[in-house]
């Protein structure tokens, strides 16, 4: 029998390594926020991110003064960096909800150590994404005109437009993700409140934990609320990016009008999201010595999810190319030819294939999935690749449309770049603040993974391994 347990453990290793008890988990994770001295590298990283974020503020100021003419958008490329970056960020924002909601419903215990910062990442990414369409309106102070409220201006929103659906989808997604993140934080905020020495922090954490005392009734209600939120956000994982894909696919433009777009965009979003989770989680794990909680097994699983979703994305590229040929439609065929080899942006396409198609093939091998270094490198390449994908879809489809007289090239201006890089700085600023002030890993959920949590039903410390594996 012992033999069998060993075999099972080899196939599904435990999700918390080292010898931990409830108290050591609270110490290890909570102390980063409360006791340990803020490490020097935090100041460096935060400083750089904060500096880059200033570029965003300056660009927005200039943009509001001059108008969106400062961007490189032209005719026929009326949509460029603004929509590329919007889709890129919103895609990154997908892994958080997938990890917190869908993996929760599927009983995947490995989500527990990564869901907290993945959710934070989602919120910050959605915040970055939201800025682009808002500023593309040129007059963001009138953005409330997009909401269908009774007004005296005789204005009625165009409900046939997927851009309108975007308004609802993205704002719903942001709301539910924020609620999900906050509800999940409450028990941990209470832990921080109880452990904080500084009266100011004690007060703030106490306020945020909403009087959580950890009574049985609290836990009971918490579990129900959390499950309902998970159920609500599950369809949102699919709906947001499907609607983003409708922005393109309900039009008639070759390269945009393809029925595979919704699932292909959703897979791409999860792919990009997991890449960003890995980009954040590998340094966190390393610098804050979280290897016991974010184990090699976590990295391996995330690598597998990235490989699987990446392959679905490649399937999408393949179907587009195949049907471009099969359609026997001169516009479709031309679009594919122009995109792949005859057009001026052909190298963007092949760079994209390299980033999203070829680089992930290394993830078939355990050696690469286990290695922090290689996973990090591949994740960065994938993040670049997913940006290129949106560039290829948007710019190469638009720049040579039906009328040759209307053709043009696109080149971004300095302000396109400063705004894009600025949002990256803004994103990392928020991430750094989150790492400093909130527990980066869910303390109470990791406790449930410990052998101590299963004393009642088993008694033997590792008896539980196989159950989780097959749950």
């Amino acid at each position: 029998m012992h033999d069998l347990k060993e075999v099972q453990k080899k196939i599904y290793p435990p999700m918390v390594e080292g010898k931990h008890t409830f108290a050591t988990v609270s110490d290890e994770i909570g102390d980063i926020t409360l006791k340990k001295k803020t490490p020097f590298h935090w100041f460096i990283g935060f400083g750089i991110a904060f500096l880059i974020a200033q570029a965003l503020l300056m660009t927005i100021t200039y943009l509001l003064a001059k108008g969106i003419g400062i961007w490189g958008n032209n005719q026929p490329i009326g949509w460029a960096f603004d929509i590329i970056n919007f889709v890129w960020w919103i895609g990154i924002g997908h892994a958080g909800t997938l990890i917190s909601a869908i993996l929760l419903l599927l009983n995947q215990k490995w989500r527990t150590s990564i869901n907290r910062f993945a959710e934070a990442m989602t919120l910050f990414a959605v915040a970055c994404a939201g800025m682009f369409p808002l500023l593309h309106t040129g007059r963001p102070w009138l953005a409330y005109w997009m909401l269908p409220y009774p007004n005296v201006m005789g204005m009625w929103q165009n409900f046939r437009s997927p851009l309108m659906w975007d308004v609802f989808a993205v704002s719903t997604y942001a709301t539910v993700s924020a609620l999900f993140w906050y509800v999940g934080l409450i028990p941990d905020l209470a832990t921080l409140r109880d452990r904080a020495k500084n009266p100011f922090f004690k007060f703030v954490y106490g306020l945020l934990s909403m009087g959580w005392r950890g009574s049985a009734r609290h836990w009971h209600r918490y579990e129900i609320a959390y499950l309902i939120l998970a159920g609500l956000s599950t369809p949102l994982v699919l709906s947001v990016h499907s609607i983003v894909s409708f922005d393109f696919s309900v039009s008639q433009l070759p390269g945009w009008h393809a029925t595979i777009f919704p699932p292909y965009f959703v897979a791409g979003a999860i792919f990009a999201g997991f890449a960003m989770v890995l980009i954040l989680c590998i340094p966190l794990r390393h610098w804050y010595k979280m290897q016991d909680f974010i184990t090699k097994t976590h990295l391996i699983y995330m690598g597998k999810v990235m490989l699987a979703t990446g392959l679905i994305v490649v399937y999408g590229y393949f179907m587009e190319a195949f049907f471009g040929w099969y359609s026997e439609n001169q516009y479709e065929s031309y679009m594919i030819q122009n995109r792949i080899w005859t057009g001026p942006y052909w190298f963007m396409y092949w760079l994209l294939i390299f980033c999203n198609g070829i680089s992930i093939q290394f993830l078939w091998f355990k050696r690469f999935r286990e290695s922090e270094f290689w996973l990090f490198v591949i994740s960065v390449i994938v993040s670049v690749g997913m940006w290129l994908e949106r560039f290829v879809i948007i710019v190469t489809s638009l720049h040579r449309d039906f009328l040759p007289a209307n053709w043009a090239m696109y080149s971004p201006t300095m302000f396109d770049w400063s705004m894009f890089l600025g949002t990256i700085g803004f994103f990392f600023t928020l991430i750094y603040l989150f790492v400093r002030f909130l527990p980066i890993i869910s303390i109470f959920e990791v406790r449930t993974l410990l052998p101590d949590a299963h004393v009642e039903d088993h008694g033997h410390a590792h008896e539980h391994v196989g159950d989780e594996a097959t749950a």
């Binding site: 033999d3 069998l4 075999v7 099972q8 080899k10 196939i11 599904y12 419903l105 369809p235 699919l238 499907s242 409708f246 696919s249 309900v250 039009s251 008639q252 009008h257 393809a258 029925t259 595979i260 777009f261 919704p262 699932p263 392959l311 399937y315 393949f318 179907m319 587009e320 049907f323 040929w325 099969y326 359609s327 026997e328 439609n329 078939w364 196989g466 159950d467 594996a469 097959t470 749950a471």
Partner: protein, 398 residues
């Protein structure tokens, strides 16, 4: 657990003879019907083939999938999907009438080179036949290897050896899934989408991957519910297993809806002359009611029922819904195949034939006969699998 007590109960043999009887009678009826109206007979046979062949191919897909995901549900259904995957070569035999009647089924088979343009190299009887051979060969090799390792696992004497075979199958399943998905995509394009020689939809392959998986899960539930009150599965299958597979069924019902809605909404909004005819044929002459039927009974009703935890845990209710979904799957396939104008015709009305029902029953009888034959050959549970005890215990849990 002793190996001998794990074989399928005697009832399976009875079901097998019944299936053969029904299959034979209906096949003869279809042969007679097909003699007088070969166009209709062949098209109905295609309907039966894509429906039951889909369960066979779906079984192979789920066999690959459960190795990749792990989980208790995969262990308890493994032998059923293995039996389903071993019917692949039999499904290839059922495909022969379609090859033989290619000119009467597919409009491109008799179209001129000028009409098809460069697609001619893809849409001609020769390359269609060669591709079908390749598809079946690939599926056969996949099914053969996975079944071989599983049988060897049954003979293993210690957990390490058993885990070795599990590891082999798991490692094989990764890349195999990629090839499988591509083969199913092109098979579904070839066999059903090209009934209209001009129309295309890039999501088509995904529609079939999901649709066939849903058929297969529904079939598995219906079968398990009928086996669970008899030895040996009465000691093995618990309500939590039904709950888990019920959840997967719910998810697939939702994904089916999602894919179909995506396809419809995009084509509807684009309103392009080369795309809309496919839906126009399906939105008039009475076909619109079939479409509505699918929305209500392939999506809304099973979706609402499957949300309930109590229903998912009750074998009788869940299997009733599963059989209901299986019927809707046939109507969904019929909605893909039936409204298409026959070769040489510009339009078709709402003209269901008795053979549209008889041929799926005929193919189903023959297929089930062979399936039950395969099911009897091996213990119903992979009893040497390292996780079999956990999987059984999981099912009895709450």
């Amino acid at each position: 657990m002793t190996k001998d007590s794990l074989y399928a109960p005697a009832e399976v043999s009875r079901w097998q003879s019944l299936a053969l009887g029904i299959g034979a009678v209906f096949t003869i009826a279809c042969l007679i019907g097909g003699y007088f109206n070969p166009e209709q007979g062949l098209r109905s046979w295609l309907l039966g083939f894509t429906y039951w062949g889909g369960i066979s191919i779906g079984s192979l897909g789920i066999l690959i999938l459960q190795y990749l995901t792990g989980g208790a549900w995969g262990v308890v259904i493994r032998r059923i999907v293995e039996a389903g995957s071993r019917t692949i070569w039999f499904v290839a035999l059922l495909f022969l009438p379609i090859i033989a009647g290619i000119v009467k089924i597919y409009p491109w088979a008799s179209a001129s080179k000028a009409e098809l343009g460069h697609r001619f190299i893809y849409l001609n009887p020769m390359s269609f036949g060669v591709r079908a051979v390749i598809y079946f060969a690939i599926w056969f090799v996949m099914a053969y290897l996975l079944n071989k390792w599983s049988a060897q696992q049954d003979e293993s004497t210690n957990p390490e050896e058993a885990a070795g075979f599990l590891g082999k199958a798991t490692a094989f399943s990764g890349p195999t899934m990629v090839i499988f998905a591509l083969v199913v995509t092109f098979a579904s394009i070839d066999w059903v989408m090209t009934l209209d020689k001009n129309w295309y939809s890039t999501i088509w392959g995904l529609l079939y991957l999901i649709g066939w998986a849903l058929s297969t899960f529904s079939f598995i539930i219906a079968l398990l519910a009928n086996l669970m009150d008899k030895a040996p599965l009465n000691r093995i299958i618990g309500k939590k297993h039904f709950h888990d597979i019920g959840k997967l069924m719910l998810a697939l019902v939702m994904v089916w809806t999602y894919f179909n809605l995506s396809q419809f909404l995009i084509i509807y909004s684009g309103n392009l002359p080369e795309e809309t005819p496919w839906y126009l044929n399906r939105m008039r002459n009475g076909w619109q009611y079939v479409g509505l039927l699918l929305i209500v009974f392939h999506f809304a009703v099973p979706y609402l029922l499957l949300l309930s935890r109590d229903i998912k845990r009750n074998a009788k209710w869940l299997s009733t819904i599963a059989i209901f979904i299986l019927v809707m799957r046939l109507i969904d396939m019929y909605y893909h195949i039936g409204p298409q104008p026959f070769v040489g015709q510009a339009q078709t009305g709402f003209n269901p034939s008795w053979m549209d029902l008889a041929a799926p029953i005929a193919v189903g009888g023959l297929w089930l006969w062979y399936f039950f034959n395969e099911l009897k050959k091996r213990p119903l549970i992979p009893h040497q699998d390292p996780f079999v005890e956990n999987a059984i215990k999981h099912g009895q849990g709450h």
